[in-house]
């Protein structure tokens, strides 16, 4: 039977009951006696049922479908089957293929998908992998640089910490010394005294300074008679070798009656058990130096 006798439109009209009685009768016969028409009819029916199952039918076609193809139980079964088949096809199409490794659907996918993978998925995946690798390399370099910077900063901080520790130790030592000094000051220095009065200058070894082991300060009081000078200076020498052991800064004398008085505070540690010379000088307003007295004394250290 040639296609000039029936075509798809005619077949659809026949299925939906839109043809004349005579035409319907003719196609009824063809549906039984013609292999070709029977097959085309079944294919068209299946396509129509599938279209209904996917919700593609509209308007008059949909109404006719419901009147003609959803009446008998068998027709409804065919629609149910089409719904399930449509769902199966959708679930297993390339867009939503189930990748469960144990699923038998995977076997179908393996058959359908290779060309798709070869053409699109593999190149795309490769491109994306290259991009991701590039980004990761950049990120790695950046992190390495940052790590190096942090290491340098850490070294600098450790060095600073060492310096601060040293400084702290120094401060602690000074603090300890300060505490000692404070304690000493609080206790008060133990002092040995020697007093030089006018007229004793250059006279023998009568002046004796005894320094006990506990003494750490020597107080020397100089009383003398002279004109009033703005500045006075004192120097102490070792008597046997004339080595200077101590000299004063500019001193200002106090006046008591007709005498002038200077008081010196010298560390006891400077002295040994031997003879010393104490020279007293003054500076005039013109700037010249005048020797006022030279005093001998002997130190005895216990």
């Amino acid at each position: 039977m040639s296609n000039s006798v029936y075509n798809e439109k005619l077949i659809i009209g026949y299925i939906l009951g839109n043809l004349s009685e005579a035409e319907t009768e003719r196609l009824d016969e063809l549906s039984i006696v013609s292999d070709d028409f029977s097959h085309q009819l079944k294919i068209a029916e299946n396509d129509l049922i599938d279209a209904f199952a996917r919700g593609e039918l509209k308007g008059h076609t949909l109404d006719q479908f419901r009147k003609r193809l959803m009446v008998t139980p068998r027709q409804r079964e065919r629609v149910d089957f089409a719904v399930q088949l449509s769902k199966f096809v959708t679930d297993n199409s390339l867009r939503t293929i189930d990748s469960s490794p144990t699923s038998w659907r995977k076997k179908i996918a393996d058959l359908i998908v290779p060309s798709f993978f070869l053409r699109i998925v593999i190149p795309t995946t490769a491109f994306v992998s290259v991009i991701i690798s590039f980004i990761l390399f950049r990120e790695r370099d950046y992190l390495n640089d940052r790590l190096e910077r942090l290491d340098n900063e850490k070294s600098a901080i450790l060095k600073e910490k060492e310096k601060l520790n040293d400084l702290l130790a120094l401060q602690e030592n000074r603090f300890s010394e300060a505490i000692n000094v404070k304690q000493q000051l609080k206790a008060g220095p133990e002092t040995a005294y020697i007093n030089f009065k006018p007229g004793l200058s250059g006279v023998g070894d009568k002046a004796v300074l005894v320094i006990q082991p506990s003494v750490n300060l020597v107080s020397i009081r100089l009383e003398f008679e002279s004109d009033n000078y703005p500045d006075y200076y004192v120097k102490i020498y070792s008597r046997n070798d004339h080595r200077q052991i101590w000299n004063s800064q500019s001193l200002t004398a106090t006046t008591k009656g007709g005498s002038r008085i200077l008081t010196l505070q010298i560390s006891a540690s400077l002295f040994e058990s031997k003879g010393y010379i104490l020279d007293l000088n003054a500076r005039t307003t013109e700037g010249s130096s005048i020797e006022l007295s030279s005093n001998l004394f002997t130190v005895v250290k216990r």
């Binding site: 039984i32 029916e45 299946n46 599938d50 008998t72 065919r78 089957f81 399930q84």
Partner: protein
């Protein structure tokens, strides 16, 4: 009366000798191992379905029974032939005889249905049909979908993967996209679109009864 006539006709068909005579006659001298019978049965059922007969299986059996009775009657000359069929006109064409008989069976059913001449048996069958329909509709639709889906999976499992892939590719897409898909698929398989459609049709014709039987078993 109608019941007696119908049962009488079914008896003819249930007789194995009558049945093999019918198969042989449908083969028309060419052994098909029952394929001609199955194909004719499928077409007759589809014919009655298009005519919106609710019991297309029964009407098909009735058609075959009448044809078988006519063949045997003609062969033995002693048995009466069906009085409603002018078989002389179609003697050499079994398919035409089947169609002519089916048309008669349909008109009988239609007249009875249209006139409201329903017998107790018809009513019982109708009630039975409605009961099974109600039972099915009463079931949770979600469960039914699940059962049908499971059954489709079971039936597909018996097919080779490449066959399932063919089904998926054939039915994929909508309207124009579907048509172009099929053209491409046919080209890739080096066959015409028509032959491809026939091949898939045969697969579907195997699947549908398989799913139907599976659903019936699950629900029984």
């Amino acid at each position: 009366m109608a019941k007696e006539k119908q049962n009488h006709e079914f008896d003819w068909l249930s007789n194995s000798e009558c049945h093999s005579t019918l198969l042989k006659w449908l083969d028309n001298g060419c052994e098909s191992s029952g394929q001609k019978y199955e194909e004719m049965r499928r077409r007759l059922i589809a014919y009655f379905d298009r005519k919106q007969c609710p019991f297309s299986d029964d009407l098909t059996d009735q058609t075959f029974a009448r044809v078988a009775k006519w063949i045997i009657g003609k062969q033995s000359k002693g048995l009466p032939s069906s009085e409603n069929i002018d078989h002389q006109k179609y003697e050499d064409e079994p398919v035409k005889i089947c169609f002519n008989t089916a048309r008669f069976v349909y008109h009988e059913w239609y007249r009875k249905h249209a006139s409201g001449a329903t017998t107790i048996d018809d009513l019982t069958a109708e009630l039975h049909h409605r009961a099974s329909k109600d039972k099915e509709e009463g079931l949770n639709e979600t469960r039914m979908r699940h059962v049908r889906g499971d059954c489709l999976d079971c039936c597909l499992r018996d097919l080779p993967p490449e066959t399932i892939a063919l089904i998926v590719q054939y039915y994929e897409g909508q309207t124009r996209q579907k048509i172009s898909n099929r053209k491409r698929l046919a080209e890739s398989l080096m066959m015409s679109t028509k032959n491809l459609s026939l091949r898939v049709l045969r697969l579907r014709d195997r699947l549908e009864p398989c799913v139907r039987k599976c659903v019936e078993n699950r629900l029984s």
